[in-house]
Point group: C2
Chain length 306, copies 2
Protein backbone atom coordinates (compact mmCIF):
# COMPACT_ATOMS: atom_id res chain seq x y z
CA UNK A 1 0.00 0.00 0.00
CA UNK A 2 1.45 3.34 -1.10
CA UNK A 3 -1.20 5.76 0.22
CA UNK A 4 -3.76 5.27 2.98
CA UNK A 5 -6.43 7.22 1.17
CA UNK A 6 -6.54 8.49 -2.41
CA UNK A 7 -9.17 10.91 -3.69
CA UNK A 8 -9.90 10.99 -7.41
CA UNK A 9 -11.59 14.20 -8.52
CA UNK A 10 -13.36 13.41 -11.77
CA UNK A 11 -14.11 9.82 -12.85
CA UNK A 12 -13.34 9.56 -16.58
CA UNK A 13 -11.00 7.29 -18.54
CA UNK A 14 -7.83 8.16 -16.60
CA UNK A 15 -9.30 8.23 -13.07
CA UNK A 16 -11.28 5.08 -13.77
CA UNK A 17 -8.17 3.24 -14.94
CA UNK A 18 -6.20 4.47 -11.90
CA UNK A 19 -8.95 3.40 -9.52
CA UNK A 20 -9.35 -0.04 -11.04
CA UNK A 21 -5.62 -0.70 -10.90
CA UNK A 22 -5.18 0.68 -7.37
CA UNK A 23 -8.01 -1.48 -6.11
CA UNK A 24 -6.87 -4.57 -8.01
CA UNK A 25 -3.30 -4.32 -6.69
CA UNK A 26 -4.03 -2.88 -3.24
CA UNK A 27 -2.08 0.32 -3.84
CA UNK A 28 -4.27 2.41 -1.54
CA UNK A 29 -6.16 1.73 1.68
CA UNK A 30 -9.21 3.42 0.27
CA UNK A 31 -9.99 5.09 -3.05
CA UNK A 32 -12.65 7.78 -2.89
CA UNK A 33 -14.13 9.22 -6.08
CA UNK A 34 -15.95 12.43 -6.83
CA UNK A 35 -17.80 13.32 -10.02
CA UNK A 36 -20.23 16.16 -10.57
CA UNK A 37 -22.72 14.05 -12.49
CA UNK A 38 -24.92 11.55 -10.70
CA UNK A 39 -24.86 9.24 -13.70
CA UNK A 40 -21.06 9.17 -13.69
CA UNK A 41 -21.01 8.33 -9.97
CA UNK A 42 -23.53 5.52 -10.54
CA UNK A 43 -21.45 3.98 -13.34
CA UNK A 44 -18.30 4.32 -11.24
CA UNK A 45 -19.99 2.55 -8.33
CA UNK A 46 -21.33 -0.22 -10.56
CA UNK A 47 -17.97 -0.83 -12.26
CA UNK A 48 -16.08 -0.60 -8.97
CA UNK A 49 -13.77 2.18 -10.16
CA UNK A 50 -13.44 3.35 -6.54
CA UNK A 51 -14.33 2.07 -3.08
CA UNK A 52 -16.74 4.91 -2.45
CA UNK A 53 -18.23 7.79 -4.44
CA UNK A 54 -19.19 11.14 -2.94
CA UNK A 55 -21.19 14.01 -4.41
CA UNK A 56 -19.02 16.78 -2.98
CA UNK A 57 -15.38 17.43 -3.93
CA UNK A 58 -14.57 18.88 -0.50
CA UNK A 59 -15.86 15.72 1.21
CA UNK A 60 -13.82 13.55 -1.15
CA UNK A 61 -10.49 15.03 -0.07
CA UNK A 62 -11.08 14.79 3.68
CA UNK A 63 -8.20 12.89 5.25
CA UNK A 64 -6.81 11.93 1.81
CA UNK A 65 -3.03 11.48 1.53
CA UNK A 66 -3.19 11.93 -2.24
CA UNK A 67 -5.68 13.98 -4.22
CA UNK A 68 -5.57 13.61 -8.00
CA UNK A 69 -7.37 16.15 -10.17
CA UNK A 70 -8.73 14.23 -13.17
CA UNK A 71 -10.95 16.89 -14.74
CA UNK A 72 -10.46 18.78 -18.03
CA UNK A 73 -7.56 21.23 -17.82
CA UNK A 74 -9.88 24.25 -17.92
CA UNK A 75 -11.74 23.04 -14.81
CA UNK A 76 -8.65 22.44 -12.64
CA UNK A 77 -8.45 25.92 -11.08
CA UNK A 78 -12.05 25.98 -9.85
CA UNK A 79 -11.79 22.46 -8.44
CA UNK A 80 -8.53 23.31 -6.67
CA UNK A 81 -10.15 26.38 -5.09
CA UNK A 82 -13.08 24.28 -3.88
CA UNK A 83 -11.00 21.58 -2.21
CA UNK A 84 -8.12 23.70 -0.90
CA UNK A 85 -9.54 24.49 2.56
CA UNK A 86 -10.23 20.81 3.19
CA UNK A 87 -6.83 19.33 2.33
CA UNK A 88 -4.99 17.44 5.05
CA UNK A 89 -1.59 18.88 6.09
CA UNK A 90 1.15 16.76 4.52
CA UNK A 91 -1.11 15.56 1.72
CA UNK A 92 -0.04 15.60 -1.93
CA UNK A 93 -2.10 17.21 -4.67
CA UNK A 94 -1.48 15.95 -8.19
CA UNK A 95 -3.32 16.00 -11.52
CA UNK A 96 -3.35 14.15 -14.85
CA UNK A 97 -3.71 17.11 -17.21
CA UNK A 98 -2.19 17.00 -20.72
CA UNK A 99 -0.90 20.56 -20.24
CA UNK A 100 1.37 21.45 -17.34
CA UNK A 101 2.29 25.19 -17.29
CA UNK A 102 -1.32 26.44 -17.26
CA UNK A 103 -2.37 23.81 -14.72
CA UNK A 104 0.46 24.91 -12.42
CA UNK A 105 -0.62 28.54 -12.81
CA UNK A 106 -4.28 27.66 -12.16
CA UNK A 107 -3.84 25.17 -9.32
CA UNK A 108 -0.60 26.20 -7.61
CA UNK A 109 -1.83 29.34 -5.85
CA UNK A 110 -4.65 27.37 -4.17
CA UNK A 111 -2.40 24.71 -2.66
CA UNK A 112 -1.96 25.56 1.06
CA UNK A 113 1.39 25.61 2.87
CA UNK A 114 2.25 22.15 4.12
CA UNK A 115 0.52 20.45 1.17
CA UNK A 116 2.75 19.15 -1.65
CA UNK A 117 1.93 19.84 -5.28
CA UNK A 118 3.32 17.36 -7.82
CA UNK A 119 1.78 17.85 -11.29
CA UNK A 120 1.72 14.71 -13.42
CA UNK A 121 0.79 13.61 -16.93
CA UNK A 122 0.37 9.94 -17.79
CA UNK A 123 1.07 9.54 -21.54
CA UNK A 124 -1.70 7.03 -22.05
CA UNK A 125 -5.26 7.04 -23.23
CA UNK A 126 -7.68 5.85 -25.85
CA UNK A 127 -10.21 7.63 -28.03
CA UNK A 128 -12.92 6.61 -25.56
CA UNK A 129 -13.92 8.67 -22.55
CA UNK A 130 -16.19 8.69 -19.50
CA UNK A 131 -16.61 6.29 -16.57
CA UNK A 132 -17.21 3.30 -18.89
CA UNK A 133 -13.84 3.71 -20.65
CA UNK A 134 -11.25 2.89 -17.98
CA UNK A 135 -9.36 -0.40 -17.65
CA UNK A 136 -6.58 -1.37 -15.22
CA UNK A 137 -3.86 -2.00 -17.85
CA UNK A 138 -4.11 1.44 -19.45
CA UNK A 139 -0.76 2.62 -18.05
CA UNK A 140 1.25 -0.55 -18.65
CA UNK A 141 4.46 0.16 -20.54
CA UNK A 142 3.60 3.86 -20.84
CA UNK A 143 5.41 6.94 -19.55
CA UNK A 144 4.24 9.24 -16.79
CA UNK A 145 5.82 12.71 -16.65
CA UNK A 146 6.04 14.65 -13.36
CA UNK A 147 6.69 18.41 -13.45
CA UNK A 148 7.22 19.48 -9.81
CA UNK A 149 8.75 22.82 -8.83
CA UNK A 150 12.41 22.71 -7.75
CA UNK A 151 11.60 23.22 -4.05
CA UNK A 152 9.11 20.34 -3.82
CA UNK A 153 9.65 17.89 -0.96
CA UNK A 154 11.57 14.91 -2.49
CA UNK A 155 9.59 12.39 -0.42
CA UNK A 156 6.33 13.54 -1.98
CA UNK A 157 7.81 13.13 -5.47
CA UNK A 158 9.23 9.69 -4.61
CA UNK A 159 5.92 8.44 -3.27
CA UNK A 160 3.95 9.57 -6.31
CA UNK A 161 6.65 8.02 -8.51
CA UNK A 162 6.15 4.71 -6.73
CA UNK A 163 2.41 4.92 -7.34
CA UNK A 164 2.81 5.51 -11.08
CA UNK A 165 5.34 2.72 -11.30
CA UNK A 166 2.91 0.41 -9.53
CA UNK A 167 0.24 1.51 -12.04
CA UNK A 168 2.52 0.12 -14.76
CA UNK A 169 4.35 3.25 -15.96
CA UNK A 170 7.91 4.47 -16.22
CA UNK A 171 8.31 7.90 -14.60
CA UNK A 172 10.34 10.88 -15.88
CA UNK A 173 10.68 14.31 -14.29
CA UNK A 174 10.54 17.23 -16.72
CA UNK A 175 10.36 21.01 -16.78
CA UNK A 176 6.71 22.06 -17.39
CA UNK A 177 7.47 24.31 -20.37
CA UNK A 178 9.52 21.63 -22.04
CA UNK A 179 6.70 19.17 -21.35
CA UNK A 180 4.23 21.46 -23.08
CA UNK A 181 6.44 21.76 -26.16
CA UNK A 182 7.14 18.02 -26.39
CA UNK A 183 3.45 17.20 -26.03
CA UNK A 184 2.52 19.85 -28.59
CA UNK A 185 4.62 17.79 -31.03
CA UNK A 186 3.64 14.28 -30.01
CA UNK A 187 0.02 14.87 -29.12
CA UNK A 188 -1.61 18.28 -29.40
CA UNK A 189 -0.67 19.19 -32.99
CA UNK A 190 -1.41 15.63 -34.26
CA UNK A 191 -4.83 15.76 -32.63
CA UNK A 192 -5.68 19.14 -34.16
CA UNK A 193 -4.50 17.96 -37.56
CA UNK A 194 -6.58 14.79 -37.32
CA UNK A 195 -9.65 16.78 -36.25
CA UNK A 196 -9.08 19.11 -39.20
CA UNK A 197 -8.71 16.35 -41.79
CA UNK A 198 -11.85 14.62 -40.55
CA UNK A 199 -13.70 17.94 -40.62
CA UNK A 200 -12.59 18.59 -44.21
CA UNK A 201 -13.79 15.16 -45.30
CA UNK A 202 -17.11 15.88 -43.65
CA UNK A 203 -17.42 19.19 -45.48
CA UNK A 204 -16.53 18.19 -49.02
CA UNK A 205 -19.93 18.00 -50.58
CA UNK A 206 -18.83 16.39 -53.84
CA UNK A 207 -17.59 13.45 -51.84
CA UNK A 208 -20.56 12.03 -50.04
CA UNK A 209 -20.33 10.96 -46.41
CA UNK A 210 -20.96 7.43 -47.52
CA UNK A 211 -17.96 7.42 -49.86
CA UNK A 212 -15.66 8.85 -47.20
CA UNK A 213 -16.75 6.07 -44.89
CA UNK A 214 -16.76 3.22 -47.41
CA UNK A 215 -13.27 3.94 -48.70
CA UNK A 216 -11.75 4.99 -45.37
CA UNK A 217 -9.47 1.94 -45.17
CA UNK A 218 -7.12 3.72 -47.58
CA UNK A 219 -5.67 5.78 -44.71
CA UNK A 220 -8.37 8.18 -43.54
CA UNK A 221 -9.73 5.84 -40.84
CA UNK A 222 -6.46 6.14 -38.88
CA UNK A 223 -7.19 9.85 -38.40
CA UNK A 224 -10.70 9.25 -37.18
CA UNK A 225 -9.54 7.41 -34.09
CA UNK A 226 -7.90 10.38 -32.42
CA UNK A 227 -10.51 12.74 -33.88
CA UNK A 228 -13.07 10.77 -31.82
CA UNK A 229 -11.44 11.84 -28.54
CA UNK A 230 -13.28 13.79 -25.85
CA UNK A 231 -14.23 17.25 -27.25
CA UNK A 232 -14.19 19.15 -23.93
CA UNK A 233 -10.87 17.73 -22.82
CA UNK A 234 -9.31 18.68 -26.16
CA UNK A 235 -10.88 22.12 -26.29
CA UNK A 236 -9.17 22.82 -22.97
CA UNK A 237 -5.84 21.37 -24.07
CA UNK A 238 -5.64 23.72 -27.05
CA UNK A 239 -6.80 26.76 -25.10
CA UNK A 240 -4.22 26.03 -22.39
CA UNK A 241 -1.26 25.09 -24.55
CA UNK A 242 -1.86 27.81 -27.09
CA UNK A 243 1.70 29.02 -27.73
CA UNK A 244 3.43 25.67 -28.15
CA UNK A 245 0.59 24.23 -30.24
CA UNK A 246 0.50 27.25 -32.56
CA UNK A 247 4.29 27.12 -32.90
CA UNK A 248 4.27 23.47 -33.94
CA UNK A 249 1.32 24.05 -36.27
CA UNK A 250 3.20 26.95 -37.88
CA UNK A 251 6.13 24.66 -38.48
CA UNK A 252 3.76 22.01 -39.83
CA UNK A 253 2.13 24.40 -42.29
CA UNK A 254 5.52 25.59 -43.54
CA UNK A 255 6.57 22.00 -44.17
CA UNK A 256 3.26 21.08 -45.77
CA UNK A 257 3.65 24.01 -48.17
CA UNK A 258 7.12 22.75 -49.12
CA UNK A 259 5.69 19.32 -49.93
CA UNK A 260 2.74 20.83 -51.82
CA UNK A 261 5.25 22.83 -53.85
CA UNK A 262 7.20 19.63 -54.62
CA UNK A 263 3.98 18.02 -55.85
CA UNK A 264 3.08 21.06 -57.96
CA UNK A 265 6.54 21.30 -59.55
CA UNK A 266 6.89 17.52 -59.95
CA UNK A 267 9.93 17.20 -57.66
CA UNK A 268 9.79 13.44 -57.18
CA UNK A 269 13.23 13.18 -55.59
CA UNK A 270 12.29 15.55 -52.78
CA UNK A 271 9.10 13.57 -52.08
CA UNK A 272 10.82 10.20 -52.13
CA UNK A 273 13.63 11.39 -49.82
CA UNK A 274 11.14 12.85 -47.40
CA UNK A 275 8.99 9.70 -47.29
CA UNK A 276 12.06 7.51 -46.81
CA UNK A 277 13.20 9.55 -43.81
CA UNK A 278 9.85 9.34 -42.02
CA UNK A 279 9.94 5.54 -42.13
CA UNK A 280 12.79 5.47 -39.63
CA UNK A 281 10.75 7.14 -36.89
CA UNK A 282 8.16 4.37 -36.94
CA UNK A 283 10.88 1.77 -36.54
CA UNK A 284 12.12 3.70 -33.48
CA UNK A 285 8.65 3.76 -31.93
CA UNK A 286 8.22 0.03 -32.43
CA UNK A 287 11.67 -0.72 -30.99
CA UNK A 288 10.80 1.44 -27.96
CA UNK A 289 7.72 -0.74 -27.34
CA UNK A 290 5.33 2.17 -27.92
CA UNK A 291 3.50 0.56 -30.85
CA UNK A 292 2.95 -2.86 -32.33
CA UNK A 293 5.05 -4.10 -35.28
CA UNK A 294 2.01 -5.90 -36.70
CA UNK A 295 0.76 -4.56 -40.01
CA UNK A 296 -2.23 -2.25 -39.72
CA UNK A 297 -1.81 -2.05 -35.89
CA UNK A 298 -2.63 -5.76 -35.94
CA UNK A 299 -6.27 -4.89 -36.51
CA UNK A 300 -6.56 -7.07 -39.62
CA UNK A 301 -6.66 -10.84 -39.26
CA UNK A 302 -3.33 -11.79 -40.73
CA UNK A 303 -1.95 -15.21 -41.48
CA UNK A 304 1.26 -15.15 -43.48
CA UNK A 305 2.45 -18.50 -44.82
CA UNK A 306 6.06 -18.95 -43.77
Amino acid sequence: MIYDRVALIGLGLIAGSMGLRMRQDGLAGEVVGYARSERTRAVAARRGLVDRTVDDAAAAVLDADLVVLCVPVGAMGAVAAAIAPHLKPGATVSDVGSVKRDVIVAVGPHVPDGVHFVPAHPIAGTEQSGPEAGFPELFDNRWCLLTPAADTEPDAIDRLTRLWQALGSTVDVMDPDHHDLVLAVTSHAPHLIAYTMVGVADDLRRVTDSEVIKYSAAGFRDFTRIAASDPVMWRDVFLNNKDATLEVLGRFTEELFALQRAIRTGDGDMLQDYFTRTRAIRRGIIEAGQDTPDADFGRHPRKVPS
Copy 2:
Protein backbone atom coordinates in the same frame (compact mmCIF):
# COMPACT_ATOMS: atom_id res chain seq x y z
CA MET B 1 -11.66 -21.03 -61.66
CA ILE B 2 -12.27 -17.55 -63.06
CA TYR B 3 -9.26 -17.17 -65.40
CA ASP B 4 -7.10 -19.86 -67.01
CA ARG B 5 -3.90 -17.89 -66.64
CA VAL B 6 -3.25 -14.67 -64.68
CA ALA B 7 -0.05 -12.64 -65.00
CA LEU B 8 0.96 -10.37 -62.14
CA ILE B 9 3.41 -7.66 -63.21
CA GLY B 10 5.19 -6.58 -60.03
CA LEU B 11 5.22 -8.71 -56.87
CA GLY B 12 4.71 -6.37 -53.91
CA LEU B 13 2.08 -6.28 -51.16
CA ILE B 14 -0.96 -6.19 -53.47
CA ALA B 15 0.21 -8.70 -56.10
CA GLY B 16 1.49 -11.02 -53.38
CA SER B 17 -1.85 -10.95 -51.59
CA MET B 18 -3.73 -11.54 -54.85
CA GLY B 19 -1.46 -14.45 -55.78
CA LEU B 20 -1.73 -16.13 -52.39
CA ARG B 21 -5.51 -15.87 -52.39
CA MET B 22 -5.90 -16.98 -56.01
CA ARG B 23 -3.73 -20.03 -55.38
CA GLN B 24 -5.39 -20.84 -52.05
CA ASP B 25 -8.90 -20.71 -53.52
CA GLY B 26 -8.14 -22.00 -57.01
CA LEU B 27 -9.30 -18.82 -58.76
CA ALA B 28 -6.87 -19.24 -61.67
CA GLY B 29 -5.45 -22.20 -63.58
CA GLU B 30 -1.97 -20.71 -63.28
CA VAL B 31 -0.59 -17.53 -61.73
CA VAL B 32 2.60 -16.24 -63.36
CA GLY B 33 4.58 -13.47 -61.69
CA TYR B 34 7.12 -11.01 -63.02
CA ALA B 35 9.37 -8.74 -60.96
CA ARG B 36 12.40 -6.80 -62.16
CA SER B 37 14.49 -7.69 -59.11
CA GLU B 38 15.95 -11.16 -58.74
CA ARG B 39 15.61 -10.98 -54.96
CA THR B 40 11.89 -10.19 -55.25
CA ARG B 41 11.37 -13.15 -57.58
CA ALA B 42 13.24 -15.42 -55.17
CA VAL B 43 11.10 -14.32 -52.19
CA ALA B 44 7.96 -14.73 -54.28
CA ALA B 45 8.99 -18.25 -55.24
CA ARG B 46 9.87 -19.17 -51.65
CA ARG B 47 6.60 -17.82 -50.26
CA GLY B 48 4.53 -19.31 -53.08
CA LEU B 49 2.99 -16.01 -54.11
CA VAL B 50 2.65 -17.37 -57.67
CA ASP B 51 2.95 -20.71 -59.44
CA ARG B 52 5.88 -19.55 -61.53
CA THR B 53 8.12 -16.47 -61.73
CA VAL B 54 9.69 -15.14 -64.91
CA ASP B 55 12.37 -12.52 -65.44
CA ASP B 56 10.77 -10.89 -68.46
CA ALA B 57 7.44 -9.02 -68.45
CA ALA B 58 6.72 -9.94 -72.08
CA ALA B 59 7.14 -13.65 -71.29
CA ALA B 60 4.85 -13.30 -68.25
CA VAL B 61 1.86 -12.17 -70.29
CA LEU B 62 2.09 -14.87 -72.98
CA ASP B 63 -1.25 -16.63 -73.22
CA ALA B 64 -2.54 -14.86 -70.06
CA ASP B 65 -6.30 -14.18 -69.88
CA LEU B 66 -5.77 -11.49 -67.26
CA VAL B 67 -2.72 -9.26 -66.85
CA VAL B 68 -2.62 -7.11 -63.72
CA LEU B 69 -0.14 -4.25 -63.51
CA CYS B 70 1.00 -4.07 -59.87
CA VAL B 71 3.87 -1.57 -60.17
CA PRO B 72 4.05 2.04 -58.89
CA VAL B 73 1.76 4.35 -60.84
CA GLY B 74 4.70 6.13 -62.50
CA ALA B 75 5.98 2.86 -63.97
CA MET B 76 2.69 1.71 -65.50
CA GLY B 77 3.14 3.33 -68.91
CA ALA B 78 6.56 1.80 -69.62
CA VAL B 79 5.42 -1.64 -68.48
CA ALA B 80 2.31 -1.42 -70.66
CA ALA B 81 4.43 -0.51 -73.68
CA ALA B 82 6.72 -3.49 -73.04
CA ILE B 83 3.97 -6.09 -72.77
CA ALA B 84 1.54 -4.72 -75.38
CA PRO B 85 2.84 -6.65 -78.43
CA HIS B 86 2.63 -9.92 -76.50
CA LEU B 87 -0.93 -9.72 -75.18
CA LYS B 88 -3.35 -12.45 -76.22
CA PRO B 89 -6.41 -11.28 -78.20
CA GLY B 90 -9.44 -11.24 -75.88
CA ALA B 91 -7.28 -10.86 -72.79
CA THR B 92 -8.03 -8.28 -70.10
CA VAL B 93 -5.46 -5.79 -68.84
CA SER B 94 -6.07 -4.34 -65.40
CA ASP B 95 -4.01 -2.60 -62.70
CA VAL B 96 -4.15 -1.86 -58.97
CA GLY B 97 -2.96 1.75 -58.99
CA SER B 98 -4.17 4.24 -56.37
CA VAL B 99 -4.69 6.85 -59.10
CA LYS B 100 -6.93 6.18 -62.08
CA ARG B 101 -7.00 9.11 -64.57
CA ASP B 102 -3.20 9.21 -65.09
CA VAL B 103 -2.97 5.42 -65.29
CA ILE B 104 -5.65 5.40 -67.98
CA VAL B 105 -3.77 8.09 -69.89
CA ALA B 106 -0.45 6.23 -69.56
CA VAL B 107 -1.65 2.68 -70.19
CA GLY B 108 -4.71 3.06 -72.41
CA PRO B 109 -2.93 3.99 -75.67
CA HIS B 110 -0.77 0.85 -75.46
CA VAL B 111 -3.67 -1.58 -75.14
CA PRO B 112 -4.20 -3.22 -78.57
CA ASP B 113 -7.56 -3.61 -80.27
CA GLY B 114 -9.26 -6.77 -79.10
CA VAL B 115 -7.75 -6.55 -75.62
CA HIS B 116 -9.99 -5.20 -72.81
CA PHE B 117 -8.75 -2.58 -70.38
CA VAL B 118 -10.46 -2.49 -66.97
CA PRO B 119 -8.58 -0.26 -64.50
CA ALA B 120 -9.05 -1.25 -60.86
CA HIS B 121 -8.12 -0.03 -57.38
CA PRO B 122 -8.46 -2.30 -54.34
CA ILE B 123 -8.93 -0.06 -51.27
CA ALA B 124 -6.75 -2.19 -49.06
CA GLY B 125 -3.19 -2.24 -47.88
CA THR B 126 -0.90 -1.96 -44.91
CA GLU B 127 2.13 0.19 -44.16
CA GLN B 128 4.35 -2.74 -45.17
CA SER B 129 5.54 -3.35 -48.72
CA GLY B 130 7.50 -5.78 -50.87
CA PRO B 131 7.16 -9.51 -51.57
CA GLU B 132 7.27 -10.36 -47.83
CA ALA B 133 4.22 -8.23 -47.03
CA GLY B 134 1.30 -9.95 -48.75
CA PHE B 135 -1.29 -12.19 -47.09
CA PRO B 136 -4.38 -13.83 -48.58
CA GLU B 137 -6.96 -12.03 -46.38
CA LEU B 138 -5.84 -8.51 -47.31
CA PHE B 139 -8.94 -7.78 -49.41
CA ASP B 140 -11.55 -9.33 -47.11
CA ASN B 141 -14.38 -6.91 -46.38
CA ARG B 142 -12.69 -4.13 -48.41
CA TRP B 143 -13.87 -2.28 -51.49
CA CYS B 144 -12.44 -2.58 -54.99
CA LEU B 145 -13.23 0.23 -57.43
CA LEU B 146 -13.28 -0.37 -61.20
CA THR B 147 -13.07 2.59 -63.57
CA PRO B 148 -13.63 1.20 -67.10
CA ALA B 149 -14.44 3.38 -70.10
CA ALA B 150 -18.09 3.44 -71.15
CA ASP B 151 -17.50 1.27 -74.25
CA THR B 152 -15.74 -1.55 -72.40
CA GLU B 153 -17.03 -5.06 -73.08
CA PRO B 154 -19.44 -5.88 -70.19
CA ASP B 155 -18.24 -9.49 -70.02
CA ALA B 156 -14.68 -8.37 -69.27
CA ILE B 157 -15.94 -6.14 -66.43
CA ASP B 158 -18.14 -8.91 -65.05
CA ARG B 159 -15.31 -11.42 -65.01
CA LEU B 160 -12.91 -9.07 -63.23
CA THR B 161 -15.70 -8.24 -60.78
CA ARG B 162 -16.10 -11.93 -60.00
CA LEU B 163 -12.36 -12.22 -59.37
CA TRP B 164 -12.31 -9.33 -56.90
CA GLN B 165 -15.39 -10.68 -55.16
CA ALA B 166 -13.67 -14.05 -54.86
CA LEU B 167 -10.64 -12.24 -53.40
CA GLY B 168 -12.94 -11.01 -50.62
CA SER B 169 -13.94 -7.55 -51.82
CA THR B 170 -17.09 -5.68 -52.71
CA VAL B 171 -16.87 -4.09 -56.15
CA ASP B 172 -18.08 -0.64 -57.23
CA VAL B 173 -17.78 0.98 -60.65
CA MET B 174 -16.82 4.65 -60.65
CA ASP B 175 -15.81 7.45 -62.98
CA PRO B 176 -11.98 7.80 -62.87
CA ASP B 177 -11.98 11.54 -62.08
CA HIS B 178 -14.44 11.06 -59.26
CA HIS B 179 -12.29 8.18 -58.01
CA ASP B 180 -9.25 10.44 -57.90
CA LEU B 181 -11.08 13.12 -55.91
CA VAL B 182 -12.58 10.65 -53.42
CA LEU B 183 -9.20 9.01 -52.88
CA ALA B 184 -7.50 12.39 -52.51
CA VAL B 185 -9.80 12.88 -49.50
CA THR B 186 -9.72 9.41 -47.98
CA SER B 187 -6.13 8.50 -48.75
CA HIS B 188 -3.78 10.85 -50.57
CA ALA B 189 -4.20 13.99 -48.46
CA PRO B 190 -4.16 12.00 -45.16
CA HIS B 191 -0.94 10.31 -46.22
CA LEU B 192 0.75 13.59 -47.12
CA ILE B 193 -0.38 15.14 -43.85
CA ALA B 194 0.92 12.19 -41.86
CA TYR B 195 4.25 12.30 -43.69
CA THR B 196 4.45 16.03 -42.96
CA MET B 197 3.70 15.71 -39.25
CA VAL B 198 6.26 12.95 -38.85
CA GLY B 199 8.79 15.06 -40.76
CA VAL B 200 8.14 18.06 -38.50
CA ALA B 201 8.65 15.96 -35.39
CA ASP B 202 11.89 14.70 -36.86
CA ASP B 203 13.07 18.26 -37.53
CA LEU B 204 12.28 19.97 -34.25
CA ARG B 205 15.68 20.07 -32.64
CA ARG B 206 14.51 21.19 -29.19
CA VAL B 207 12.49 18.00 -28.98
CA THR B 208 14.92 15.15 -29.26
CA ASP B 209 14.15 12.11 -31.37
CA SER B 210 14.10 10.08 -28.25
CA GLU B 211 11.37 12.19 -26.65
CA VAL B 212 9.25 12.07 -29.77
CA ILE B 213 9.51 8.30 -29.71
CA LYS B 214 9.07 7.78 -25.96
CA TYR B 215 5.95 9.91 -25.72
CA SER B 216 4.45 8.89 -29.04
CA ALA B 217 1.54 7.02 -27.44
CA ALA B 218 -0.16 10.40 -26.92
CA GLY B 219 -1.36 10.42 -30.54
CA PHE B 220 1.70 10.84 -32.75
CA ARG B 221 2.29 7.11 -33.23
CA ASP B 222 -0.98 6.79 -35.19
CA PHE B 223 0.51 9.09 -37.84
CA THR B 224 3.70 7.09 -38.11
CA ARG B 225 1.91 4.00 -39.41
CA ILE B 226 0.83 5.51 -42.71
CA ALA B 227 4.03 7.60 -42.88
CA ALA B 228 5.91 4.28 -43.02
CA SER B 229 4.29 3.35 -46.34
CA ASP B 230 6.30 2.67 -49.50
CA PRO B 231 8.10 5.91 -50.54
CA VAL B 232 8.21 5.22 -54.29
CA MET B 233 4.58 4.20 -54.51
CA TRP B 234 3.53 7.35 -52.68
CA ARG B 235 5.82 9.66 -54.63
CA ASP B 236 4.06 8.44 -57.77
CA VAL B 237 0.58 8.79 -56.28
CA PHE B 238 1.15 12.47 -55.49
CA LEU B 239 2.80 13.23 -58.83
CA ASN B 240 -0.07 11.54 -60.64
CA ASN B 241 -3.00 12.86 -58.64
CA LYS B 242 -1.63 16.38 -58.36
CA ASP B 243 -4.76 18.44 -58.92
CA ALA B 244 -7.15 16.60 -56.62
CA THR B 245 -4.54 16.24 -53.87
CA LEU B 246 -3.63 19.94 -54.00
CA GLU B 247 -7.29 20.88 -53.97
CA VAL B 248 -7.99 18.84 -50.85
CA LEU B 249 -4.81 20.10 -49.19
CA GLY B 250 -5.89 23.69 -49.94
CA ARG B 251 -9.20 23.02 -48.26
CA PHE B 252 -7.36 21.39 -45.35
CA THR B 253 -5.05 24.37 -44.84
CA GLU B 254 -7.97 26.79 -44.91
CA GLU B 255 -9.75 24.77 -42.24
CA LEU B 256 -6.58 24.39 -40.16
CA PHE B 257 -6.14 28.16 -40.21
CA ALA B 258 -9.71 28.60 -38.94
CA LEU B 259 -9.00 26.25 -36.03
CA GLN B 260 -5.64 27.93 -35.32
CA ARG B 261 -7.47 31.25 -35.21
CA ALA B 262 -10.01 29.79 -32.75
CA ILE B 263 -7.15 28.68 -30.53
CA ARG B 264 -5.43 32.06 -30.77
CA THR B 265 -8.61 34.00 -29.97
CA GLY B 266 -9.75 31.53 -27.31
CA ASP B 267 -12.96 30.53 -29.10
CA GLY B 268 -13.69 27.40 -27.06
CA ASP B 269 -17.23 26.96 -28.39
CA MET B 270 -16.00 26.73 -31.98
CA LEU B 271 -13.41 24.12 -31.01
CA GLN B 272 -15.81 22.02 -28.96
CA ASP B 273 -18.48 22.06 -31.71
CA TYR B 274 -15.92 21.04 -34.31
CA PHE B 275 -14.54 18.18 -32.22
CA THR B 276 -18.04 16.93 -31.44
CA ARG B 277 -18.96 16.79 -35.13
CA THR B 278 -15.87 14.75 -36.11
CA ARG B 279 -16.79 12.02 -33.62
CA ALA B 280 -19.79 11.01 -35.71
CA ILE B 281 -17.66 10.05 -38.71
CA ARG B 282 -15.75 7.47 -36.71
CA ARG B 283 -19.01 5.89 -35.61
CA GLY B 284 -20.01 5.63 -39.28
CA ILE B 285 -16.77 3.92 -40.22
CA ILE B 286 -17.12 1.39 -37.44
CA GLU B 287 -20.76 0.69 -38.35
CA ALA B 288 -19.68 0.17 -41.99
CA GLY B 289 -17.21 -2.50 -40.84
CA GLN B 290 -14.20 -0.51 -42.04
CA ASP B 291 -12.53 -0.26 -38.62
CA THR B 292 -12.64 -1.96 -35.26
CA PRO B 293 -14.71 -0.54 -32.39
CA ASP B 294 -12.04 -1.63 -29.90
CA ALA B 295 -10.26 1.19 -28.10
CA ASP B 296 -6.86 2.06 -29.58
CA PHE B 297 -7.55 -0.12 -32.68
CA GLY B 298 -7.56 -3.02 -30.21
CA ARG B 299 -3.79 -2.84 -30.03
CA HIS B 300 -3.72 -2.53 -26.24
CA PRO B 301 -4.49 -5.58 -24.09
CA ARG B 302 -7.82 -4.62 -22.65
CA LYS B 303 -9.86 -6.35 -20.01
CA VAL B 304 -12.77 -4.32 -18.75
CA PRO B 305 -14.56 -5.68 -15.66
CA SER B 306 -18.26 -5.87 -16.43
